[in-house]
């Protein structure tokens, strides 16, 4: 009986390890999710200066469709995205961590 209880205890200790490992990749996002976050962040930046270099964006950025946002680089643990505002020929470059945290936003006149 003692052996059985010890075995059961050991099973209880060991088994949850696989559950933890199964969730080890949570928190990282794919490129499509990065674009979604960028789209939402652009909307927010048209409402308020969130402290990035781009400051508060003009209202015309609200109309930029998600199709005009692309991931241009995804190396070194970051996503770099570019949003093209075709109405003004301006671009917005966004740097985001792989966990979806926006780090930088810079507006450029280069299309």
């Amino acid at each position: 009986m003692k052996n059985f209880l010890r075995t059961l205890l050991l099973l209880t200790i060991i088994t949850p390890t696989s559950m933890v490992l199964a969730h080890s990749n949570h928190g990282t996002i794919d490129a499509q999710s990065a674009i979604q976050i960028a789209s939402k962040s652009i909307q927010q930046m048209t409402f308020k200066d969130l402290g990035y270099q781009a400051g508060k964006l003009d209202a015309n950025w609200k109309a930029v469709p998600i199709e005009d946002i692309e991931v241009i680089d995804s190396e070194e643990g970051f996503y770099v995205l570019r949003a093209a505002n075709k109405a003004t020929n301006k671009s917005l470059y966004l740097k985001m961590t792989v966990t979806g945290q926006l780090l930088e936003a810079i507006e450029s006149n280069e299309d």
Partner: protein, 196 residues
């Protein structure tokens, strides 16, 4: 005298744990995380729905129209995305609302029971008192259920409607100047807008 676990028992326990972990991995984790269901057990338990919803969420369609949906005396509400009038597809809306000085406003969405809404809002300045709540459809007693009450300048979260009815926010501005709010909602709903 202290007894120690024999090597044979340890090996047996390890093998049993590995087998159990393998069964759990194939039966529960693969269906729930990756929509891979070799046993068919995950579908019977509804676990594959979790993986499917996680895959579907990032590609929810976003149609944008730039239209004003409602106006009142000094409160203007704008949306730059079309509201979905059906409950078959998730939709996203960006709504801007102004809460006048020393007043409160209520902004509501019509939702069916078990529909999910994710939301994010922020003010352009001062924090606001708010009550995120729902009112059952057809109820005339004045009953409402609060999901969150606080005073904040920004909030992000989600909820699943516990009943059919109107769900949304009451914001109270106790300051002497108007406060604007940007609200981003994503999910299954129909916009009711500002309630008098």
């Amino acid at each position: 005298m202290e007894q120690s676990v024999s090597l044979t028992t340890l090996i047996k326990a390890s093998v049993a744990a590995i087998l159990l972990a393998g069964v759990a991995f194939v039966s529960f984790i693969l269906p729930a995380e990756y929509n891979i269901d070799p046993t068919g057990f995950g579908q019977k338990l509804g676990l594959t729905v979790l993986a499917q919803s996680a895959e579907a969420a990032p590609i929810a369609p976003q149609s944008k129209t730039n239209s004003v949906v409602s106006k009142s005396n000094s409160v203007v509400s704008k949306t730059n995305c079309a509201a979905s009038k059906t409950n078959s597809l998730a939709s996203e809306n960006v709504i801007e609302i102004t809460v006048p000085a020393n007043q409160g406003i209520e902004y509501k969405l019509q939702m069916n029971q078990h529909d999910k809404l994710t939301y994010e809002w922020m003010t352009d300045g001062d924090p606001l008192y708010f009550d995120l709540h729902g009112e059952p459809e057809g109820d005339t007693t004045g009953y409402f259920e609060s999901y969150a009450i606080a005073t904040l300048g920004t909030m992000k979260g989600s909820f699943i409607a516990p009943f059919d009815g109107s769900h949304g926010w009451y914001w109270k501005n106790t300051s002497a100047k108007a406060v604007a709010i940007q609200l981003i909602v994503n999910g299954h709903y129909q916009i009711i807008g500002l309630k008098p």
